[in-house]
């Protein structure tokens, strides 16, 4: 009996065992990914081929939903508008994260007085619920809110500025809300990148006579590339798929005059109806919009991810 056991053990080569171990380690992840990502993705494709108000029988319409979004002026114009505004929304947010976030992370990396307190302060908004942040910031920028009171009191504005009531300012204001709320996340990622810079490299650069700025530019920044790419990919995927602040503050109509409409609000409005009309809903059309959005951001996300992999 012991000989048999030994014989069976001998049969498995190291490579085979390694394969089994790898398979066993991968299985939970693959299963979870399949159940929660891949199968829903296939279902989404099926859903995009039907006309369905969310309840009752589904009517198979083939590729009509895609044709509707891409060719019917009423929907096509909304999608183009939402896509362009989404690009602006993303650009403002990523600009804030990479410029302000890097600046703040650098300041936090210096051994300055009260550094820990600042770290806590910068990170404080991040764990707050999106709904609470949206509500507070809406009150903050309201024509009768504290920001406008301060601006008019200090003579910086003659009359209250309708930050969320004007087509010119509402999208940027919403992007700044998002940036303020999630800045802590960007700072932490960038800060961890900065702290990972080998101190001997910094010391060497200083011994060679580099100033603080030169050390940052030539030693720290090159190491921050992967952190920047990670932030860009996460924000890209997030802002093209979600629209929590805009839905909470401006509603599915994404006013004023659809000036805050992005892909997430367009998709939500198509699936669940807008506040102007809750009866015109089509989950199939919304699924088609979701798939088109995924196709639009996929190349950029893959490119950035691959670039990141090559660098690491």
């Amino acid at each position: 009996m012991p000989d048999d056991k030994q014989a069976s053990r001998v049969k498995l080569s190291y490579r085979t065992i390694e394969k089994i171990q790898r398979t066993l380690l991968l299985t939970p992840g693959v299963l979870l990914y399949s159940v929660f990502n891949f199968i829903p993705l296939l279902m989404l494709f099926y859903l995009s081929l039907v006309d369905w108000p969310g309840i009752g029988p589904k009517e198979f319409v083939g590729l009509d939903n895609f044709a509707k979004v891409l060719t019917q002026p009423y929907y096509r114009d909304q999608m183009i508008n939402a896509l362009l505004q989404n690009v602006i929304f993303f650009t403002v947010i990523i600009g804030c994260f990479l410029i302000i976030g890097t600046g703040l992370a650098l300041l936090l990396s210096f051994r300055t007085y009260g550094r820990k307190t600042y770290q806590v302060l910068f990170f404080l908004p991040y764990p707050m619920a999106g709904a609470a942040v949206a509500y507070l910031l809406d009150l903050f920028v309201h024509p009768r809110g504290p920001l406008n009171a301060a601006l008019t009191q200090w003579g910086l504005a003659d009359a209250p500025i309708p930050f969320l009531g004007s087509e010119d300012t509402s999208l940027i204001t919403m992007a700044l809300f998002y940036s303020w709320h999630r800045m802590g996340f960007a700072i932490i990622l960038i800060l961890s990148g900065i702290l990972a810079v080998r101190t001997d490299l910094l010391e060497a650069s200083m011994l060679d006579g580099a100033s603080r700025w030169q050390s940052i530019r030539h030693v720290v920044f090159p190491v921050l590339g992967p952190a920047f790419i990670l932030i860009t990919v996460i924000v890209l995927v997030d802002v093209f798929n979600n629209a929590d602040y805009i839905l909470l503050i401006m509603g599915p109509e994404a006013g004023p005059l659809r000036s805050t409409d992005i892909m997430g609000t367009f998709l939500f409005r198509t699936a669940f109806g807008g506040s102007a009309d809750t009866t015109d809903t089509n989950f199939g059309l919304a699924a088609a919009i979701g798939l088109l959005t995924a196709l639009m951001i996929l190349p950029a996300a893959i490119f950035l991810a691959l670039r990141n992999l090559r660098k690491t």
Partner: protein
């Protein structure tokens, strides 16, 4: 001692089981979904007094997006009953899904309801899909501490606007942000005050057009109020809450809104518990308010407790319900039963709805809302553009008309641009 304790525990458990079994045997609990938080006290009262023998109602209130909640829960056959919004377009998906059925299937007596009340609960097939229970009125609502005398015509209204503006008070506060407010409240109240029954009936039937002078003039008059500074400075920056807050605080004198804002559950009374609100039509050529059935009680024909459902529907159609509704919700019941109303506001609203409301209701008309793009989004988008100065009143009229004409609107040929 241990034995006594054990015996006592067992006896208590047995007694509890027996009592609970008795309770289950005595009454059935039905699930009801609603967005109407103001009805909670009424349902509690009905349950407490056992007014529907053998039936308890568990009211679940979802103030936001009840449609999504219904879509999800109907997959698992919940709820048994639900408050439904007026109009056949709202009912159609539920009818198609088999979770709404005509009340005639259960033999509910609907003889106490007039044509106007039943219109909101009628599907596109002409069948009645629920028991209407509340009428609403949309008009000018004003803060009585700011505006003491009601103007009787447009000239007087505009003179009042001018006086209020000179005092630094916003004469008419408008929510320019919410699509539902713009098309369902503001636009329809403007129609009721400034157009006519004939014209409104005409657009529903396709014999009148939005490009007619009567409509363009009405919108031009409204726009002139904004141009003269009678509206809040940035309507697009103000939402529904900001509008009601302005009037409750007295920094704004009037708003165009539904009478639901004046019920005890309204947040306006949290701002000022002593607030006194007055109501009047826009005193234009029609000088009418906009009255409509706001909600009806629909039922799920696949409910496991269909007998209990039937009892609740019968109760909603009874004179006792009408009286309780007027007393406890302080709103206008939809049935024609004589109701002893002590509340001045309910009394006034019922009289205004009965005697002075616009006959046709474009917002609920199948001919206007079942087309794609429909009347509702076209109006809300157009009104926002008007308030933003992007289009003229005639441009608004043409936008609505051309949008409707693109689809199968009944009056497309008659109103070709």
């Amino acid at each position: 001692m241990k034995l006594i304790k054990k015996t006592l525990v067992l006896a208590t458990a047995a007694a509890t089981l027996a009592t609970s079994h008795l309770a289950f045997a005595e009454s059935t609990t039905v699930e009801m979904y609603s967005w109407r938080i103001q009805d909670e006290a009424l349902i509690d009262y009905i349950n407490e007094k056992n007014l529907i023998p053998g039936v308890q109602i568990n009211l679940n209130v979802y103030t936001e997006d009840i449609e999504s909640k219904l879509r999800i829960d109907m997959q698992t056959n919940r709820p048994d009953l639900y408050h439904a919004k007026a109009g056949s377009a709202w009912m159609q998906p539920w009818i198609d899904a088999g979770v709404a059925a005509p009340v005639s299937d259960l033999g509910i007596d609907m003889s106490a309801f007039g044509e106007a009340a039943l219109a909101g609960a009628t599907g596109s097939d002409g069948q009645v899909y629920g028991v209407p229970f509340v009428m609403q009125m949309e008009s000018i609502l004003y803060n009585k501490s700011v505006l003491t005398t009601e103007p009787t015509n447009l000239e007087e209204l505009e003179a009042t606007f001018e006086d209020l503006k000179a005092q630094g008070i916003v004469p008419l506060h408008v929510d320019g942000r919410d699509g539902w407010y713009l098309n369902q409240v503001l636009h329809e109240t403007l129609l009721a005050g400034l157009t006519s029954d004939e014209w409104a009936q005409g657009v529903v039937e396709g014999t009148a057009c939005f490009t007619d002078d009567i409509y363009v003039d009405a919108m031009a008059r409204f726009k002139s109020w904004q141009d003269k500074g009678y509206l809040n400075p940035n309507p697009m920056a103000d939402d529904y809450g900001a509008m009601r807050t302005g009037v409750a605080l007295g920094t704004s004198a009037m708003m165009i809104d539904g009478i639901w804002s004046a019920t005890p559950a309204s947040p306006m009374y949290q701002i000022d518990p002593e607030l006194q609100l007055g109501y009047m039509a826009i005193p234009g050529s029609a000088n009418k308010v906009y009255g409509f059935t706001d909600a009806h009680l629909a039922y799920n024909p696949q409910s496991d407790d269909i007998e209990a459902v039937e009892k609740v529907l019968e109760f909603y159609a009874s004179p006792m319900f009408a009286q309780l509704f007027a007393d406890l919700v302080e709103a206008v019941p939809a049935s024609n039963y004589p109701v002893d109303v002590n509340n001045e506001r309910v009394q006034m609203a019922s009289e205004m709805i009965a005697n002075n409301s616009l006959v046709a209701q474009p917002f609920f008309a199948d001919s206007l809302i079942s087309v794609d793009p429909g009347y509702r989004p076209l109006v809300s988008e157009g009104l926002q553009e008007l308030l933003a100065g992007k289009i003229t009143p005639r441009g608004l009229a043409e936008k609505i008309q051309s949008g409707l004409n693109q689809s199968d609107y009944i009056g497309a040929a008659n109103c070709a641009l």
